[in-house]
Symmetry: C3
Subunit: 161 residues, 3 copies
């Protein structure tokens, strides 16, 4: 009975588990942030993880938590919003990973819904004991900004940036 086969099988399975954990993390962002669960959102990041959106640079879990609790975000979820993230493309390389997805921020305003923002999200993640954590997340609007296109290309190819 070839033990090698079992080891190889376990490796293939582990890769899928890793990718799926990261897919789940990213798919959880919208539900958590739209629910206003500041603790759960913050816990996605490493303690010193960063989140860079145009005009806002967060440098830690505390900064991410503060963003969710901010007047601006609370107003958004109070009126109704959906951080609608698409399926992520995930590239795992040992204990680190790069992932990317596109998104639409849909907002409720005066009985109607509108597309407020459309963007790309680039994630660099690290493996930790409990799973995976975000080390860096960069979001850019897909408004013609060439750097947004660079993020898309880097993310889908698993390149560092």
């Amino acid at each position: 009975m070839p033990v090698d086969d079992l080891v190889a099988l376990e490796r293939r399975l582990k890769r899928i588990e890793d990718e799926r954990q990261i897919e789940r993390l990213i798919a959880s962002y919208g539900p958590f942030v739209d629910a206003g669960d500041a603790e759960a959102v913050a816990a996605m990041w490493a303690p010193e993880g960063t989140y860079d959106v145009e005009g806002l640079s967060m440098r830690s879990r505390d900064d991410v938590r503060a963003m969710v609790l901010s007047e601006q975000h609370q107003k958004l979820i109070g009126e109704g919003c959906c951080h609608f993230l698409g399926p992520a493309v995930v590239n795992v390389d040992g204990d680190s990973a790069v992932a990317v997805c596109e998104s639409a921020l849909l907002v409720h305003h005066g009985k109607r819904f509108a597309v407020f923002r459309v963007g790309v999200h680039y994630f660099a993640l690290d493996r930790v004991e409990s799973g995976w954590e975000i080390r860096t997340r960069v979001a850019r609007a897909l408004d013609g900004d060439p750097s947004a296109r660079d993020l898309l290309a880097a993310g889908v190819s698993g390149r560092a940036r």
Copy 2:
């Protein structure tokens, strides 16, 4: 040769298969309902499964089928619509599961498309011989309604409600 390892491997694989079956079920909803395939939509539910949307409470497969065949839904797909559901977050616990996703209902009206509704979908599912069935589905618009935020939080955490 440790048989235990093979058993453990099979358990990990089975968990992924379960989650993927549910992900597929949820990802199939939009295509089926936008195609107007009433039988296929109804078959996603348990015979006595429920679907609760604002203003509409369905209590069985027959009710779900009737919704797809209704004048209101037929008009929607006749003009053009897309029940666009995002990636689901799935929590399997033995023979039952809880899943959640966000969605946008995009409608075609007078040569243009618009975002008609943005919402959260909470699913409680049961394992049956043929796979998984919806026992309960609750949808709420993300229009500032606090109960929509509760649904998001419960769904992503796998909590019953």
Copy 3:
């Protein structure tokens, strides 16, 4: 030690890997095409693969590459756009597969974003040495056109067309 079990396990794992490779291929389309990476988009197709969108019939990788490099597409990404594809439903049958997803084309125009097009994408794919390639892709707007509904039904059920 039952070798059969290991073989059966490997088969189940392989099926998931196949489906995931196709899911990844489809999830990569938006990032690649919105980044303007014509080579990467073209490489998703078989050399003689086809892509049929209303008013545009591409019959090869070269045609797909030319579409990405066209003035029309370059203008779209220059102003900002997102080919936002939802989670795919994949049906693998040996060395061929059928998949389907819904999508929204979100465009940036004059400081605002709008839903420009909502559609269905039907894919027929073939296994090749390096993974999977698109043999046929058909896209139709969900604007009430009955053929779009047929595509949805065929895709989710894995039927050839």
